[in-house]
C-alpha cells in the first residue's frame, strides 16, 4: 500500500478499488468512500472532489495506523518485563469501573453516625469537624451560616436575630448579605476608577505584559522543566557562520518549539520537519548569538 503523501492520481483508483466494504448508510458522495468499484479511469482529469477524497484517504489511513501501532506497542510492552525495574510494571487494567490495579473503587464500609443537628449520616472521621461547622463553632463563615440557619428556625420576632424583620419576609434569607457585598464592591470600583484614566491604565498594562512575556521566555529557557534538547549543528567551514537548529520538548510534551539561527541573524525556516511550530521570541527577528557551553544541552543567548 502506498503511503507516500504525494502520490499520483493513478494511485487513487487503486485505493478506491481496495475498499471492499459495500455496507454504508451514508448519503450522497460518501457512498463512494466504501463502495467496491468506481467508474473512474486513470485518464480522467482529477477533479477537485477526487483530489480532496484522496487527500482525506491518506490522512485517515495515517491516523488509523497511528492508533494501531500505539495499541500494538502498549500490549507488547505490557506483556514483557520492564528493563529498569525487572517487573511487569507496564501492564495495567483498562476496564471501565475498575482502577488500574483491578480493584473496585468504592470501599465505604466505615460506621456512619447521624448528626444531631442536621440529621445527616457521616463517617466517624468526619463527624466532629462537621458538627463544628454545623453548630457554627469552626470559624467566620460557618458561624455566619449557622446563625442564619438558627435565625430561620427560631421565632421571627426574636430580638436576637441578625436579620431585620423586613428581610425575613422575603423568600431569600440571604438577601441582606447580598446587599452588603454589593455595596462593598461598588465602593471598591468607585475608588479605582478615580485613580487613573483608562488610556493610561491600558498602556502601562501593555508594557508590563511585554516585559513579563520576555522575562518568562528567557527564564523558561533555563528552567528545569526542560528535559530534551537535541542539537544538530552543521559547520560548513571554520569561517562560515555557525548554523544550528534544535528543538525542545517540555516534560509534559505540550510544546515543541524549533529555532533555527546562524551566527548573525535568526530566521524562521519552513523546511519540512513535521509537527514543529516555528516561532520567534517576541515577534521580530532578533539577532541571537550562541555560545556553546561545555555540555551540548546548554546554551546562552545574548
Amino acid at each position: 500500500m502506498d503511503h507516500s503523501p504525494s502520490s499520483q492520481s493513478n494511485d487513487d483508483v487503486e485505493n478506491f478499488s481496495q475498499n471492499p466494504e459495500d455496507s454504508s448508510h451514508s448519503p450522497g458522495y460518501i457512498d463512494n468512500f466504501n463502495s467496491k468499484s468506481l467508474s473512474i479511469q486513470p485518464s480522467d482529469i482529477p477533479t477537485k472532489g477526487i483530489l480532496a477524497f484522496s487527500i482525506l484517504c491518506d490522512l485517515l489511513d495515517e491516523c488509523i495506523l497511528d492508533v494501531a501501532f500505539e495499541a500494538h506497542r502498549e500490549t507488547k510492552l505490557a506483556a514483557s518485563v520492564c528493563q529498569l525495574c525487572n517487573s511487569e510494571c507496564r501492564s495495567f487494567v483498562t476496564q471501565p469501573g475498575l482502577d488500574i490495579f483491578g480493584n473496585r473503587p468504592q470501599q465505604n464500609d466505615s460506621p456512619k453516625f447521624e448528626c444531631v443537628n442536621c440529621k445527616r449520616p457521616y463517617p466517624s472521621k468526619r463527624y466532629a469537624p462537621h458538627l463544628e461547622k454545623c453548630l457554627g463553632l469552626a470559624g467566620r463563615s460557618s458561624s455566619r451560616v449557622a446563625n442564619l440557619k438558627i435565625g430561620n428556625d427560631r421565632n421571627p420576632s426574636s430580638p436576637y436575630t441578625t436579620l431585620s424583620e423586613d428581610n425575613l419576609n422575603q423568600s431569600d434569607s440571604d438577601g441582606g448579605l447580598y446587599i452588603e457585598k454589593f455595596e462593598k464592591k461598588r465602593k471598591k470600583l468607585n475608588g479605582k476608577s478615580r485613580r487613573s484614566s483608562p488610556a493610561k491604565y491600558t498602556k502601562s498594562k501593555k508594557q508590563k505584559s511585554i516585559i513579563s512575556e520576555t522575562v518568562e521566555e528567557t527564564s523558561a529557557f533555563s528552567s528545569s522543566k526542560l528535559c530534551k534538547c537535541s542539537e544538530n549543528s552543521t559547520l560548513d567551514s571554520p569561517n562560515s557562520p555557525i548554523k544550528r537548529s534544535f528543538s525542545m520538548e517540555y516534560s509534559d510534551g505540550s510544546k515543541n518549539i524549533q529555532y533555527k539561527y546562524n551566527g548573525n541573524s535568526a530566521s524562521v525556516d519552513t523546511s519540512t520537519q513535521s509537527d514543529n511550530d516555528y516561532i520567534d521570541i517576541d515577534g521580530d527577528y532578533d539577532t541571537i548569538e550562541v555560545l556553546q557551553t561545555s555540555n551540548d544541552s546548554g546554551y546562552i543567548i545574548k
Binding site: 448519503p27 466504501n34 494501531a68 495499541a71 500494538h72
Partner: protein, 105 residues
Amino acid sequence: MSESENEQKLASELKSRILETQERNKLKRLLTKRLRDCGWKDKIKKRCVDKIRTEGVENIKLDQLEEYVLKHGREAVPDDVKVEMLQQISSYLDKHVSQLEKNIK
C-alpha cells in the same frame, strides 16, 4: 492532451503544496481531534487490542493487523467528521488552485 497533463500536474503540485505549507499537519491535527472527541479512537484501539490478544502478542504480524484495522477503521468513521474534513480540504484547494495555475502557466 496537454490540458489533462496540466491538470494532473496541478493535482500533484497541490498535494505537495499541502505538505510543504504544513497545511497537512493542521488538517491531520484537526482530524485526530475530531476522531478522539467522537470516541472513534477508543473504539478502534479496543478492536486492535482485542485482535492482538486473540492472535497472541508474540504471533501477531503488523501486516495482518494493518489490513484488519484499515478495513474496519475506515467504515467506522462517523459521517459528519468525513464531511467536515472534506469541506476543509476543498476550501483549501479553492484558495490555492488559482495561485498554482498561474505558477504552472
